[in-house]
Symmetry: C2
Amino acid sequence: MECGLLFSGGKDSSLAALLLEEFYDVTLVTAHVGVTDDWEHAREAAESLGFAFEAIELDGDVADEAVEVMREDGFPRAGIQQVHEAALEAVAADYDVVADGTRRDDRVPTVSRAVAQSLEDRHGVDYVAPLSGFGRGAVDRLVEENLVVESGPSEAIPKGDYETELRARIRQRWGESVVDEVFPDHEQTRVVGRAGPDA
Amino acid sequence: MECGLLFSGGKDSSLAALLLEEFYDVTLVTAHVGVTDDWEHAREAAESLGFAFEAIELDGDVADEAVEVMREDGFPRAGIQQVHEAALEAVAADYDVVADGTRRDDRVPTVSRAVAQSLEDRHGVDYVAPLSGFGRGAVDRLVEENLVVESGPSEAIPKGDYETELRARIRQRWGESVVDEVFPDHEQTRVVGRAGPDA
């Protein structure tokens, strides 16, 4: 079965790919909104892991609706959730199985059982979240054993996630001060290869 | 890392084992309560899949408290949940990682995020539920491709799950009519091997 796994180049979606690769024909899919070329960092990460890769451009309205919600909220969560759900819909149109790297303790994006069931019923696909039964500690230990990762502040680590593009879109529309309002500082990671004897 | 995966010989815990085998040293662990030898069916299934196996006998009080709850409720759920949590505690004492085969849409047993976190904090282990991000359809399709399964009514398929022993304990204490009151008829499955070219 053809599985499209939403992929940012980060450790969670990379580990999800390793968990699924024995069971599905996995393509790593990066959704972008046409604002920057940062999805190419995800392509590099996908290549370093040896997976097929696809970039999907979401409708421009998705980004604009999301950044408006984010500016209004003063937090990124709801907007990122909207983009994630739009990305799941896009993948569901092209694959038998839709997957993502959401963890047990992720706050955003999250995919509730109801959203998952709705996606499955409307598109005739399976939605699978292979890390949703793993907490942060378990994920960190598996990442350490199976991936090579570099980490640093969000702005220093080029990734292919929605955040990078949504930051850019906010900067375009309202300037850097609104970016700082919406996005608190936090550490990002990017995967640069597999660890261990098979690497 | 040494992972003890709670194992009944059924398709869910078998598929969970296949998902984890690339990442941990997996031992399939069947918890029993000393009422019957049905855990030996789980050992046979574990052998047919090529995994290490361990049987753990839980304290006799666990079974007696569970069947009393089940008789009072007229349903098996709460009692089975109690035994499952006692089994997780027992595995957590001996392994680095505790796992089970609970699915996204399982009603019992379920392990809430709070129960998982508590288990992890008290024992210094990771709790992982590799199928908790998979629905019934996804599990069924993966089972069909990866396992050989026989199915039939609960009483005809010998398995090593708690239900078999708890039925026996209820029969011992209160007779067959109480077994029928507590357990509605449903289909059971038992794994008898791996499918596909590697089988």
